[in-house]
């Protein structure tokens, strides 16, 4: 699958994967592919950042290598680890066979046969097909030492293993980095990337996403769901519902066999949309009823 040659082709690529992208995101993705730069996606949780990488990988028919970040992420879980049990067995066997040459043994047990590849090495190591899409998810959860290490990888696309030497990507992977902005990522990383702020979708796009991802929802219900979530996002909440929540809610309502919103159903299922007790408390039955009435009177504003 060749890389898209224009922004329109990139948009079509996302489209074909069932990912309804805004043109702005498609432009950033197109440039990331074209200029061979990492794509840095930042935005609230649940707006489809991870999905972007998945759509890109399936659209380009590349493998997706995912690295989930967390505090204290180290080389052993991010890059590589030696398979110690196998190495020890190998040493014991060599000892039992007798006549071991120390140098040869040392050479033998530090070969790729005993190497466990973790995501970063997996993405860089040579492979038969094309370079994979490397998704570095929620980089804001990792700590600064890992960020510094990542900077090195992104500059050289190379990993050095003391016992083996440098492993370099013949073709650099397509890198997508996401952040929920629970802290600011260092400028040095962002400078190397193409930055895109992923916002909540507008009503038109969100409706399109619900239609695509939750086809079992009747059209009228889908419209009400989208109008309701859009109205919720206008309120002052700790955490506005993302697209992921909208889709969950649509599926929940379908599972409950609802064809239209009513205050009672909203009150019963609001936990699918809002995940903070304060937010749930703010949407009292009265507020929910008013919102439902408004949504049903005005319809969706596209």
């Amino acid at each position: 699958m060749p890389l898209p040659a224009t922004v329109d082709e990139t948009l079509a690529l996302f489209e074909a994967q069932g990912y309804v992208a805004e043109r702005r995101l498609a432009t950033a993705a197109f440039l990331a592919l074209r200029l061979a730069r990492p794509l840095f996606l930042e935005g609230e949780a649940g707006v489809g950042k991870t999905e972007t990488a998945k759509a890109l990988a399936s659209g380009l028919r590349r493998n997706l290598v995912r690295l989930q970040c967390y505090e204290g992420l180290d080389t052993a879980s991010a890059v590589y680890e030696w398979n110690y049990p196998r190495q020890m067995i190998e040493i014991r066997l060599a000892e039992a066979a007798g006549g071991i040459e120390r140098e040869t043994l040392a050479h033998d047990i530090f070969t790729t046969r005993f190497l466990l590849k973790r995501p970063l090495l997996e993405a860089l190591a040579p492979h038969d097909g094309r370079a994979p899409v490397l998704l570095i998810d929620e980089l804001d959860r990792a700590d600064e030492p890992f960020e510094a290490y990542l900077l090195e990888i992104l500059a050289e696309y190379q990993v050095t293993i003391p016992e083996l030497g440098a492993i370099r990507a013949s073709e650099p992977p397509i890198v997508v980095i996401t952040s929920n902005r629970t802290r600011e990522i260092h400028d040095a990383i962002k400078r190397r990337c193409l930055y895109h702020w992923v916002d909540f979708p507008d009503a038109r796009r969100e409706l399109e996403i619900v239609r695509r991802r939750c086809p079992s929802a009747p059209e009228a219900l889908a419209r009400e769901i989208v109008a309701f979530t859009q109205a919720l996002r206008e309120r002052d909440l700790y955490k506005s519902p993302g697209i992921a929540e909208t889709l969950d809610w649509a599926e929940a309502l379908v599972a409950l066999d609802r064809v239209a919103l009513d205050p009672q159903t909203v009150a019963d299922t609001i936990g699918v949309l809002l995940k903070y007790q304060d937010d749930v408390g703010a949407i009292t039955p009265d507020v929910a009823a008013a919102l439902v009435a408004r949504v049903q009177a005005e319809g969706i504003r596209l």
């Binding site: 890389l3 224009t6 922004v7 043109r23 702005r24 432009t27 950033a28 197109f30 440039l31 990331a32 592919l33 074209r34 200029l35 061979a36 730069r37 840095f40 930042e42 967390y70 505090e71 204290g72 992420l73 180290d74 030696w82 110690y84 190495q87 020890m88 040493i91 000892e95 071991i100 120390r102 043994l105 040392a106 047990i109 370079a131 804001d140 959860r141 700590d143 600064e144 030492p145 073709e171 650099p172 397509i174 902005r181 629970t182 802290r183 600011e184 400028d187 962002k190 400078r191 990337c193 193409l194 930055y195 895109h196 702020w197 002052d236 700790y238 304060d278």
Partner: protein, 420 residues
């Protein structure tokens, strides 16, 4: 990926690259941190998407030149102005420089242009500084039109003796938070887990003989520190000393964030990062507009909880709340926000200068609302109390007890006696 490194040689001909460079320069003047390499990226990006579609053209520039959500609004305003008429923006920026950066430059703006400058460039600036998109227009109007009448504190009025005392004592002050074990580990003589890699290496050397085990131990790091400091009128007497203190701890280590509050919240970490305390405090003075005014603790904590807590408290932060607890809103909504704050951080320490008075009692509504939720309540009114604070923070706190509120009430008796 595409294999041709020849982008720089295939740049579009004509005036476009030149204009992009001008645009980058204009953005830089607006405060975006853009190096020369960014201009090259931008030209390559523009070459890749072409110039047939204005939206694509804008998005391509945005993807290369913007690296923070806050900068996006500045970029969009500048884009609209610049690509309609490049000259206009340059003129605007040039005419604004002396005002915004305090530099002297060519003064050729007419009154009519100045008004447009305000309209075009100040809203995004205000937005960037407060990180708050909701109040932009109101704030911008306020900052610009009544800049002179705002009560901005001049730090230069500090006496030499005061400065010397504060500098000497406070600059050497450190705030040692107890380091907390993290997932990262490193080799250690006596550790918690066997370092298999090092052990195996040792076995290679020992060849056949029993090799000693190598060990690893978990690393420890101090948690992030977030300081919320009250700068309202009633705190005025302490604010100078406290700012020196905040400067010292901000520059001492990583992961310290400082926000000031009175009637609204102002993040000042960036300003305090300047090594020179005088420059840093001058910048803080420039950034704060509600100096020595009223206090709305509840509203400010609410704003912090909403806009900042997820960004600053994510990695188990310790929060220092410096305030006298005298609230203009009479503690309205404060208990709720204090509870939320206490529950989103590892430890909430309240520093109160009023605590030095003998017979201090938690009468004011604000104090009563806050008290049940703080883990530690300490005086902060002189150098001694700051030193005592450092010692207290260094001590490993016990686990939070579920009956924190009850525990606090009994502790209230201790506060009647003055502390060192």
């Amino acid at each position: 990926m595409i294999g041709d490194a020849g982008f720089s040689t295939r740049l579009p001909k004509g005036r476009l690259p030149e204009n992009v460079v001008h645009f980058v320069r204009a953005l830089r003047a607006c405060g975006l941190p853009l190096g020369p390499a960014k201009a090259i990226d931008a030209i390559a990006a523009v070459a890749a998407v072409g110039v047939t579609n204005k939206a694509d053209f804008r998005d391509a520039l945005a993807a290369t030149l913007v690296s923070k959500h806050e900068h996006l609004a500045v970029f969009e305003q500048a884009f609209e102005l610049f690509w309609r008429n490049p000259r206009l923006l340059e003129k605007l920026v040039a005419s604004l420089l002396p005002r915004v950066h305090g530099r002297t430059g060519h003064e050729e703006r007419g009154p009519e242009l100045a008004a447009r400058v305000a309209q075009a460039l100040l809203p995004p600036r205000a937005m960037r500084d407060t990180g708050d998109t909701d109040e932009v227009e109101l704030d911008a109007a306020f900052t610009f039109s009544s800049r002179e009448i705002l009560q901005q504190k001049d730090f230069a009025t500090m006496t030499a003796a005061e400065l010397a005392e504060a500098r000497d004592a406070i600059a050497r002050l450190r705030l040692p938070l107890p380091a907390w074990p993290v997932r990262r580990s490193r080799a250690a003589r006596r550790g918690e887990a066997v370092d298999l890699r090092a052990t195996l290496r040792g076995m290679m050397g020992a060849a056949g003989a029993a090799a000693p085990l190598a060990w690893r131990r978990r690393e420890r790091r101090p948690p992030p520190l977030v300081v919320l400091c009250d700068i309202s009128g009633s705190m005025d007497r302490y604010a100078r000393m406290l700012l020196h203190f905040l400067h010292a701890i901000t520059n001492d280590r990583h992961r310290v964030h400082v926000l000031l509050f009175g009637t609204r919240l102002t993040p000042i970490t960036r300003h305090l990062r300047h090594r020179d305390v005088d420059v840093a405090l001058a910048r803080v003075a420039g950034a704060v507009s509600d100096w020595a005014g009223g206090t709305r603790i509840g509203a400010c904590l609410a704003e912090f909880n909403r806009r900042w807590s997820r960004r600053l408290l994510a990695q188990n932060a310790v929060v220092l709340l410096i305030s006298d607890g005298l609230d203009a809103d009479a503690g309205e909504g404060l208990a709720f926000e204090a509870e939320r704050l206490a529950k989103s951080c590892r430890r909430l320490v309240w520093l109160n200068p009023l605590l030095r008075y003998e017979g201090f009692e938690a009468k004011p509504a604000g104090i009563r609302a806050l008290l049940p939720w703080v883990d530690d309540f300490r005086a902060v009114h002189n150098l001694d109390s700051l030193r005592a604070l450092a010692v207290a923070l260094a001590a490993e706190p016990g686990p939070r007890s579920p009956g924190r509120a009850r525990h606090r009430r009994s502790a209230m008796h201790d506060f009647r006696r003055p502390r060192a």
